[in-house]
Symmetry: D3
Subunit: 157 residues, 6 copies
């Protein structure tokens, strides 16, 4: 079994040395969802007329995605060139689906930036609706695809 | 249907005015999980001998929980007096279960602090194991219980 | 002439010692404006149908106001209990008027929090419209009123 | 009328995708002023002998300019290679004039960095003198010139 | 041997639970020094005529002290009511001596705030003089005294 | 005597203009120590069985090193590609020795990143052991070597 990349031989946590990796175009797409009571989703959609929960959460996700290396201890700082979030209501959940696409030209990937953007957006949806529904669940936060870098492309089946 | 608390009558996003609320003991417990391939969980457990994924993720969760009002746009700043995280392997998932307990004496609750701590810990678990398993999912992030404040106690059934 | 409060006798910058001041209710209202070409204001108002410049700027102002003690070197950290921003189009400028109200119970005032919220909101309006109009001016950023604390109430004539 | 660059077709706030833009030398100059009572300006100038308001404000402006992408929600992170602030007393205002020059090699401009540096410096001047004069106004915050990038050079007439 | 306060029984890092501690006046004084070549100290002193290394470092120390709970993972957030730094040249070192006094009314002490302010000030002195002298050493960073709290007063002999 | 690089001709603090410097591989190694009572070192080593002081401090140092340009006012933002910390007990001190290696490809050096990582790790060691020993001293924080850039290589004799 190979060792974990974020620990040295002697067990110290390490920021992986990416100094000698090539700068290439890196992209990652992540997704997640906030599952809520049907009436909470109605409230979110009705609320949109007066103040838009999704817009606030999208903005929070963008700001959060830019803070990724500040939040995830062993993450490298990376200047994102694109960070695009979408939040769509889904009656079948019921709740909202969140998708984030992050892109940069860098020496390491942007999976954590996409995942962080999704979770911060999800937490913000929770915050704005929690007075109505404390039982909401944030879930299904996962990578959809990544491209670029030595490990190549990856796509969830 | 009542309006959303985080928007004004005319639809502006607002930080809820808590000026006249009483300072009371506030506690919140949140939970979540990172689901992974069985061999990734083995790796995490084997890795613990050489460098502890759970310790790094707990620390990240504590740091993240302290940043809650910086991450969630309409959250009030609150000085936490306790923030306690646990991460336990669970073969049945397979993966790890994360729990966070946040406490303060304040004018508003600490649900978002507990939920933020759980998600940042979950993202950090993902980051440290992603070279082995990109398919992990962070999910089941939800409030377990809260106490204190005008809205009283709440417990997930 | 009295000395400046933010320097010691020997000229060192100091954070004013507020240890022995009483905790009282502190409120401050600040205002400012972004002046723009008439067609830029039309664009902002038309844009509102598709994406709301004012909502993004309000959110930025709230987040910025919470960061005040991080931005203004000699400002004390203060946990705001209310931070309310308004942005209104004004054909007469032409442009938008921004108002912020900050409240806390603390040992020192919240004037800087209200002023910081207004300026960050103004900068965000500029950022979102700058592709259309680089000539916009942010101005008239000033305190409208304050209350609480030993220096008492103050109101712009 | 063209749509706003910071919103998608369907009205979501977006960080503009600059992935495919060329890295070029970007420069921006911004200016602003703090207008104050004549005796406050005297105090600032006299104060300079014992502790320098302008130096503290310049430093705050530099620190603030480095935080631009943290303050302005849809701003890209950019590593500045130069950030130079000047603060000059001007009896005619009366008050101080603030100028900031920001430079980087990047895919997007540094106008917001220069403007943010000016406003944080202005807020810091206000903070340090507010005990003497609550009526000061921060104004005239605007871009003087920019160069670099696809949109080319721009200079205020 | 007693266990370490920052680890749980089972070895998890924990933020110490201070929920039930009394709010009392807390003060801490810390000190440190930057030792440098005699000609570097001359340069610092000569430089003071044109731009003041000590003022910049004092300001950096104050800003850094306010960030303590953001830097030290298991530190509680505490709103400082006083943070006072002094930097004095000392020919005998040769170099500068740095002292910081931090005060708050809180449930836990401010030793880390005073120590963090001293080290950030020391690092800033190094940064400003490093082009002249890369061999400087920051040392002797230690607590001088603390008062308040259950553990009572402490003073270095 | 040459002027200080961080001040302009007229004494303003400046971020050095590195716009026209070449991007080269930059490396810096820094070291420091925390000196403590022999029984505190025993406690640290015994504690390692239950919860690892060194791991927490290493993580804090990595996070702190990434925040360097946020802490040191005139430091340029730099995206580190490697940041590696080691903490070793040393009976002879008695205490722990801390070493940090920082690397990037950039226009300016990473000495401050390495030194900041060492000091934040040292402060964190202090924080975790202070309940047992308030008399610990952080010292000997200094540059060991640097390479890259116009000023060339440097190594402590």
């Amino acid at each position: 079994m190979t060792t974990l990349t974020h620990f040295s031989e002697d067990g110290r946590p390490v920021m992986v040395d990416v100094t000698d990796k090539a700068v290439t175009r890196r992209q990652a797409v992540a997704e997640g969802a906030v599952v809520m009571a049907p009436e909470t989703l109605d409230r979110l959609k009705a609320g949109t007329a007066k103040g838009d929960v999704a817009s606030v959460a999208i903005l929070a996700g963008i700001i959060g995605g830019k803070k990724t290396s500040d939040l995830i201890p062993l993450c490298h700082p990376l200047p994102l060139t694109k960070l695009d979030l979408r939040i769509e209501p889904d009656e079948a959940l019921p709740g909202v689906r969140i998708t984030a696409t992050a892109v940069t030209d860098g020496k390491t990937g942007v999976e954590m930036e996409a995942l962080t953007a999704v979770t911060v957006a999800g937490l913000t949806v929770y915050d704005m609706l929690k007075a109505a529904d404390r039982g909401m669940t944030i879930g299904g936060v996962r990578l959809v695809s990544k491209s670029g870098g030595r490990s190549g492309d990856w796509r969830r089946d």
